[in-house]
Amino acid sequence: MGSNSAMEQTIDKIIKKSEKQVVSDLNDAGLNFKQNLDDSITKLESEYDKILSDGKKEADKIEKQIVGGSDIEARNKQLLALEAAVDRVFTTALEQITNTDRNSDYSNLINSLLQESTKILGTTEVKVYTNAKDKNVVQSSLSSFSGSKLSSEIIDCIGGVKIESKDGAMKFDNTIDAKIERLKPLIRKEIASKFGVKE
């Protein structure tokens, strides 16, 4: 019996000691755990902020891509539509010019075109080319330009004249087509403004 109670006492001691150790370990672990938790909260918060800011950046990037792409697409469609409209205006205007009566006003126009062209080449001794429709008007105007000659060769144009120096070294295209071509960018701007396109 005596030896049993001594053993029990020893076991109790050991149990108490172990219990103390376990409690102390648990306390330490608890403290460690708390410390780790506290540390990780800051880390977590900064990770959280980073994820949010990365996400926001990515969202901004995607928004920029979508908005930018669709803006460009819409603008391009508008440009093509506008160009088609401008072309239609041009075609109609050219048709009207082609069908203009060759009256006295037109004769004055041919005269001024001839004057302008000979002045630019610096001589009236020139060969003049025109289309079939304007041949008579040009022929009658040429009398006031000494040394000028109407070529039998017919050119394809809406109206106006093309002149060439006698030796063929200098040429000046003063047809209505060439004039329109020279002024086309300005005319396009004017037409576009009629469609409500602002500068």
Partner: protein
């Protein structure tokens, strides 16, 4: 300019390289635009380089291949080369001569502007001092770009300067203001794949909306390259000074431009200067670079980043050498870093932004920016010395502080310098990394930063 524009001359005396000599010409003017017409009716553009004794020397932009003396005629248009401009050019893609390359019609012009530009009155120039954020840490943090500055990138063949150029074009912005920002991108003599990359890169990022692209590819005639930077700058000046936008112009590759200039000079039989480049290379380059700036009383600005690849990585080559005299600093792309796989491989020790000091600090970036940048610059320079020493004595022979500097060098290259091509860092993020690098050093090694900033931002123990 001549009043007799539009006369077509058919006496071609000589065709030599990119030049056509026209005989019996009267009243032509220097720089006048010329339309060359072939027997097949094909039209090419050119400009008058010289006039006198009844002759005119015309430089044909699209080259003279296929032209013959008989049957070719030259029409002197009566005006200099002009670029049609309007706000509508934003989002458009043009070729090297300013003609649409995106399948869309010519822009409806608000104005037609002489591509040679008008010199800026020096008296009217305003000192550049506002920060441009590129989103690339090494540029924003250590070689800061300011509005109105001209800051070239010196690179070498095969290196990643074009990736960097595209990244800057996509990401660049002005911070702290609602002013409009635009990018004018001129690719000069680049490969087709590179041109496509630039176009796609801007298109897919949505940045094309605020950009204008001029693409002159390597298979386009070399002479066109003379015009490309000029049309790009004409558009930039219009956007900046007429529409009040802040415009960043990226010109890549200026070496191709200088080579086109050399080709013309050789064809004109001019006395060659260094490496065969004309003696007026400096003057010619300045007519491009000096088109950057800000003007008093005008809202906008033109900032330039010309990119040039140095033949054989030689920084003393005439092109980078003369460029360096005109521009306000340089960004040098380093071969060693490139070989290590670092992107962007910028060698900061050889790079400098002369106007950085005025574009950073309180009100622009942050009050500690200049000091932390200086400290990192100093530390990285020391890291390089330590690396060289370690190469001789080995790591074991280094002191504890030397090892810390080596660590700084590594962190600098891996975390600050290295950046993904689609990573857009804010200036705050850039400064945070700079502080992380500084924090690798013990406090007593931090000699270039005021204590109050150290107390506020230092993260070391």
């Amino acid at each position: 300019m001549t009043t007799k524009g539009g006369v077509q001359y058919s006496k071609i005396a000589e065709i030599k390289g990119p030049l056509v000599v026209v005989d019996d010409v009267e009243n032509a003017a220097f720089d006048e635009l010329v339309e060359i017409e072939t027997t097949e009716g094909e039209r090419r553009l050119g400009k008058v380089l010289e006039v006198g004794n009844g002759k005119a020397i015309v430089q044909v932009f699209e080259g003279t291949t296929g032209l013959s003396i008989s049957g070719t005629s030259a029409k002197f248009v009566g005006k200099v080369m002009e670029m049609p401009v309007s706000k509508e050019v934003l989002g458009r893609v043009f070729d090297g001569l300013g003609r649409p390359k995106d399948g869309l019609p010519d822009p409806i012009a608000d104005k037609f502007i002489d591509i040679n530009g008008e010199p800026m009155n020096p008296e009217q120039r305003e000192y550049p001092k506002d920060f441009i954020q590129t989103g690339v840490s090494v540029i924003d943090g250590l070689i800061t770009l300011v509005r109105g500055q001209k800051l070239p990138i010196f690179s070498g063949s095969g290196m990643s300067h074009n990736l960097l150029a595209a990244q800057i074009a996509r990401q660049a912005s002005v911070v702290g203001t609602n002013d409009d920002f635009a990018v004018v991108f001129a690719a000069i003599g680049v490969q087709y794949s590179e041109a496509e990359y630039f176009r796609r890169s801007l298109e897919e990022s949505g940045a094309l909306k605020r950009s204008v692209l001029f693409l002159n590819t390597a298979d386009d005639p070399a002479i066109e390259r003379i015009i490309t930077p000029r049309v790009a700058l004409t558009v930039a000046e219009y956007l900046a000074f007429e529409l009040g936008m802040h415009v960043l112009v990226i010109l890549t590759d200026m070496t191709n431009y200088a080579e086109a200039l050399r080709e013309i000079s050789a064809a004109r039989e001019e006395v060659p200067g260094r490496k065969g480049y004309p003696g007026y290379l400096y003057t010619d380059l300045s007519t491009i670079y000096e088109r950057a700036g800000k003007l008093n009383g005008r809202k906008g600005s033109v900032t330039q980043i010309p990119i040039l690849s140095m033949p054989s990585d030689d920084i003393t080559h005439p092109i980078p050498d003369l460029t360096g005299y005109i521009t306000e600093g340089q960004i040098v792309v380093g071969r060693d870093l490139f070989r290590q796989g670092v992107y962007p491989p910028i060698n900061i020790l050889m790079s400098l932004s002369r106007l950085m000091k005025d574009g950073i600090g309180e009100g622009s970036t942050r009050e500690d920016h200049a000091e932390v940048a200086n400290q990192v610059y100093d530390a990285y320079s020391r890291a390089q010395e330590v690396r060289a020493l370690a190469g001789i004595v080995g790591k074991a022979g280094l002191t504890e502080i030397d090892l810390k500097y080596m660590d700084v060098g590594e962190v600098f290259e891996k975390e600050f310098l290295t950046q993904a091509t689609d990573e857009n860092r804010t200036i705050e993020e850039t400064l945070a990394i700079l502080w992380k690098i500084v924090s690798k050093l013990p406090k007593n090694e931090i000699t270039k930063i005021k204590d109050k900033y150290v107390d506020q931002y230092y993260q070391g123990k």
